[in-house]
Symmetry: C2
Subunit: 324 residues, 2 copies
């Protein structure tokens, strides 16, 4: 059978037709235009899906289910989006609305959860019993897979690994708490640390690339300069990866999954990032002689959203019963 | 059928005969005398078990399996204790040695894991799909139950929740890292915080109870004084419970289990502790309008070790395959 996976983002909607093994047969995209009434957004999610289906030369009769990844929290018992801050959605009956266009089972979950699940079906953590996925972007999203299935907790409020406290009374977070992991491990955090250095050293290479304005600093700039051997950029990157290694170690000390997968913008630093993390791990371990989770880079890139969502559709309504 | 549960501690060995529902039919205890050769300790584990069995008026024919809780890490594939610091054990073939006396399946796991599992079989978290147990004692132990079974991770190094970093470059921990949760949430931490106050206020009620010597301060003293309304003791207890609430919130943000269970010495503060934690939780939540894990006090006390170990025996060798 085939499955429709929809990646609903704040700016773009992507829909894909995916087979049982997580291969994308066809894709279509459109703008979200999030300020519109939700019914118009959902209509475009449906038309985008049907466009991809036509490209794949299949019909709805070949499709067993639909999955949707959202930047928020959903209740799969009712098919409702509870929160979706980027889109300004609150208690939106997404399943019911989408089923007006395509009368198939619809499963919804958080985008980081869905991306982590995709990696465990068709990516770097394929076939592993357990894994934890981190998206290192504007914030830090978390996706937990246990027993090959996505885990968002008993009340659907888990896998928010970006909001573990790692610094008591630390940097205030957008969530209202202080010292959350994402304030130290996101791309935003790397840029902030580079900005601090830039203010102290207005003539440094980072500031030259940023044309003298810390608001122009990007994560890419810092990583590129660090790769080129710039001392201050390397110092910033070392500080960032120290925190990220602590995050990986917290995941090990808590869940000890088979693998920790790093995705999102910062993961494009590739082996340069991975080496920096992996070299710091042994020093943080409780049991120095025992094995510990492998750390790896995500493989599916932007397709993870569509693949993971489709694989939710494959899990089917059994999953809804276990979820919130 | 019946199961033998053995709680192997640094000072005491307890063995119990437990039925399918987690009821203890009979118990026996003896001193560990950990400095002896391990074979003598294991012999006493066996004789203690057989003494309890005789008290229960049953024979080994009625027993389906044996479980052991240890203050360390075990490998259930080989039946070996990998680490057990209190006992000075390293790579001890515990299963093989015990089977010389009782030829039954033997499962071994960490004592906090076993105690948490006991609560989920016969205690406060009975029958719940998922729970996380914290022992608040000299350190902070963690026990994770997922899908009704103990979870110690893919490599057996998980559920060490006391060693999550909650303060970057924080207080050095016995494990070699800095800023571990147990440095802020254990009984040891409460005593340290009280000692800091005692040094600043040598005439305070805490110091009077401690006869002017901070080395005499106990967790019980601080809690009793706080209950009586002593202002400084209350301030210390408020600081301690602030950190413990953050620990509970980290568990929520990560795993979001059905319930977080508080056990160990500090949990004897009872509802006085629970109220202080529960009142702090809502302020820490990411999604203020969604449900979240219940926080509860452990119910089984010292019997948790024996009950949980026996229930490991009930899980049987299927569990060994899943464990490290």
């Amino acid at each position: 059978m085939l499955y429709i996976g929809i990646d609903l983002g704040g700016t773009h909607i992507a829909a894909g037709i995916v087979d049982d093994e997580g291969h994308v047969l066809a894709k279509a995209e459109t703008a979200t235009l999030a300020e519109r009434p939700y019914r118009e957004v959902v209509r475009d999610m449906a038309s985008c899906s049907l466009e991809a289906l036509a490209k794949s030369s299949h019909t709805l009769d070949d499709v067993a289910g639909i999955g949707i990844g959202i930047p928020g929290v959903a209740d799969n018992k009712t098919g409702t989006v509870i929160f979706c801050t980027n889109l300004g959605w609150h208690n939106i009956p997404l399943r019911e609305e989408l089923q007006k266009y395509m009368n198939l089972p619809v499963l919804i979950d958080n985008d980081a959860t869905v991306a982590g699940f995709a990696e465990s079906v068709a990516g770097v953590s394929k076939g592993l019993h357990s894994s934890v996925f981190l998206t290192l972007g504007t914030g830090v999203g978390g996706g937990i897979v246990i027993d090959g299935k996505p885990w968002t907790g008993a009340h659907g409020v888990g896998s928010e690994i970006g909001h573990l406290t790692i610094e008591l009374d630390g940097i205030p977070c957008t969530c209202g708490k202080d010292g959350c992991l994402e304030r130290y491990c996101s791309a935003t955090a790397l840029i902030r640390m580079a900005g601090e250095v830039g203010l102290q050293h207005p003539d440094c290479a980072i500031m030259q690339k940023a044309k003298g304005d810390i608001r122009n600093i990007t994560g890419r700039m810092v990583i590129d300069l660090a790769k080129e051997g710039d001392e201050l950029a390397m110092k910033v990157f070392d500080r960032y990866t120290k925190y990220l290694a602590i995050a990986v170690n917290n995941i090990t000390s808590f869940l000890d999954p088979d693998m920790v997968v790093l995705g999102g913008g910062i993961s494009h630093a590739g082996d340069f990032l991975l080496r920096k993390i992996v070299e710091k791990i042994p020093n943080l371990l409780m049991f120095k002689t025992l094995p510990y989770p492998q750390v790896a880079l995500a493989r599916l890139g932007n397709e993870a959203g569509v693949i993971g969502a489709a694989m939710l559709g494959k899990l089917g309504m059994d999953y809804a019963e276990g979820g919130i």
